[in-house]
Symmetry: C2
Subunit: 339 residues, 2 copies
Amino acid sequence: MTDIPRTARPTMKDVAARAGVGLKTVSRVVNEEPGVTEDTISRVQAAIDALGFRRNDSARLLRKGRTASIGLVLEDLADPFYSPLSRAVEDLARAHSTLLFTGSSAEDADREQELVLAFCARRVDGLVIVPASEDHRYLEPEIAAGVATVFVDRPAGGIDADVVLSDNAGGTREGVAHLIAHGHRRIGFIGDLPRIHTAAERLRGYREAMEDAGLPVHGNWVSCGPTAPGRVRAAVESMLSGPEPVTALFAGNNRITVTAVRVLADLPSVVALVGFDDFELADLLRPAVTVVAQDPGQLGRTAAGLLFQRLDGVAGAPKRVELACRLIPRGSGELPPVP
Amino acid sequence: MTDIPRTARPTMKDVAARAGVGLKTVSRVVNEEPGVTEDTISRVQAAIDALGFRRNDSARLLRKGRTASIGLVLEDLADPFYSPLSRAVEDLARAHSTLLFTGSSAEDADREQELVLAFCARRVDGLVIVPASEDHRYLEPEIAAGVATVFVDRPAGGIDADVVLSDNAGGTREGVAHLIAHGHRRIGFIGDLPRIHTAAERLRGYREAMEDAGLPVHGNWVSCGPTAPGRVRAAVESMLSGPEPVTALFAGNNRITVTAVRVLADLPSVVALVGFDDFELADLLRPAVTVVAQDPGQLGRTAAGLLFQRLDGVAGAPKRVELACRLIPRGSGELPPVP
DNA sequence: TATGGGCTGGACAACGTTGTCAACAAAGGG
DNA sequence: CCCTTTGTTGACAACGTTGTCCAGCCCATA
C-alpha cells in the first residue's frame, strides 16, 4: 500500500512529489511557517505520514549555522561525583532545546583534546569541560570561531576562559581547622596527584590551616599520589606509625576518604577523619564521616548557565565563579585526639 | 598577521583560495587521499594552519550518509547505577570512532520519545535505550529506516527488538531463597512501581521463591510504589508491626535498600535484609548489606557490542540476552530470624 | 614527432535542508 | 476594465563537504 523505501529515508523532495507540491511548501509545513492553505497543509501532512518522513536536522542545522548541541567532557562518566554535574548540564541543555554530546577524558590530556576537537568538528555551539590537560591553547581557534567554552571544577591552562570552581582551598582550610578546634595537633593530609588543580588547592588549604594555627607539618604527614587503594593504605599506615603519629586525617577526595575509612576500620586505633567531597551513606557509617561537601549539581548548573548566557550573546571578560563548600560534621571529625 | 575571520569559520573554499589550489585538492589533503604531490600537500597544510581550518564533520557526514554517532537514553544520568553503563557504552563508541549523545528520560514516556526522536532527527546511526515508555511502536519507521536499536535493562514495548537484560526474577529468587535458608518464614518485599518491568520481574521472583518454599505471602508483606523515602519508611514500619511481623526484608532496588538501611538503623528490632543492586560501601555498613548484584557495566558493554554488530551489518532475528545476577552475602542477609 | 599512460588537479553535482525572490491567482479600488 | 494589493506557491541558490569525471601535464615508447 504505502511505498516506504526500506533503505533510503524519504526526504522533503519525496514528500513534495507525493503531495504534488513544491519542495519549499513541504518545508513550510514542517516548520509551521505561515502562509499555507489548510488544504495544502493536510495534503502535505498526509504525504508525510504515509512516507514516515522525519526532517533531517543535520542538514537543517548545516543550513542554519547553529547545531543546537553542546559537548560535555568530564573525567569519567562512571564517577558518581560527576553524575549530578552531567544531569544539571543536561537539564539546562534541554531547557534550551539543545542536545548533549558526552565523553570521558579518563584524566588523559590527549584524550581530552581528541574529544573536544571531535565535538568542535561537529560544530557544537558550546563546550563544558572538566579539564584533564594543562594546556588548552589548542582551543584558541575554536573559541575565536565562536565556540562558547566553560571550564568546570578546574581552570583552563594557558588561555583565559570562563571557569566555575569550588573553593577547594577554603573548604579544606575549614575542614582542617575543624580538626584543630577539636584538639588535634598532628594532622595528616592524603591527596590526589598534585598536578591536578583541585588536589594542589586542597593541599594549599591544608598548609594554610596548619600555619594559621601555628602548627608544624612533619615530613610524612603529607602524601600525594594516585588514588589507588594500595597507595592510600600505605600512606595511612605510615602516618600512624613513627615517633610523631598523626591523630587525625584529612582525605583529599571521596575515593581517598572511602579507602581511608576501610583502612581505619581494620586498625585498632581511633583516628579522626574529615574528607573532601560528600558521598552517599557517609551518614550511615560508624562513625559517620564528616566531610567538606561540594555541590556538583550546582557546579554543573552554574557552568551550563554561564554557557547559555554566552550563547545568548552575553559578552564580557571571562568570568571566574567560585562556589563555597560546606562542612558537614557527622562524627568522624569530632573524635578527640588519642595520643 | 594571519587574517583569521573573527566570526565565520574558514571552509575548504577559503583554504583552497589561500593555497591557490582547487577545492577538491584540499579535501584530498584533509582526508589523506593519495594522488597529491608532497609540495601541494605542504602548501595546503600551511593554509590550513594559517586559517585555523577544521573540517566540518556535520557537512561531511551529511554527504556520506552515516553520522558516526549514537544516542544513549537512560532513566537518569545522575543515578550512579547507570554510570558504569554509560561509561561502557562510551568506551565501545570510542573504539568505533563514534560520538555519543546522551539524555535522561526521567522515567517519563513522553520525554523518552522526545529524546529518541530528536536523536533520530540528527540521524544517529544507532540507539541504546533504557526504556521508560511501554510502547515503542513510534520507533518502527526509524528502525525500518535503518537505525540500529538495542534496549537495555528492560524490554521494548510493542515491537520486537534486541534487548539485554539482567535476570531479575532469578536473582530475586536467589536472594529470597537465601533468606529462607537462614530460617526466615515471614519475608517482606518492597519494590518499585510495578509498571516498571524490572520491578515486576523482581516481584515475580519473590513470589516464586516463597511459593517454592511453600510459604504464604500475607497482605501487607508486599509493597510496591515510588522509591520516595517516606513511602519506603511507611512500608517497612507497616511490615514490622501487626500480628504477623516480618523477620526479613527484600528491597527491590538500590535506593529502596538504602532507605531500608536508614529506617532499620533507627529501630530497635533486628531485621535481616537483602537488597537488589550492589552499591558502594555496602560492605562498610554494620551489618554489611547482602545484595543481589547486577553488573551494569556488563549490561552496557553487551548492549553496545550488539549495537555495533548490527551496525557492522550482522543481520538476524532480534536477540534477547539475559545476564545472570550474583548474590553477595555480607552479613545483613545471614541474620537469623528474631520473633 | 606522435601516441599513450600515469599522475595531478579542478569543475561540477549531490547530500537535505532553508532563505530569497519572483510568479501567479484572486480580490479590491479607481 | 485595469492596476494594485494580498496571499499562496515554487524555482533556485546556498550551507560545507565528498564522489565522479575529465583536462592537462610529463615522460617514455614507437
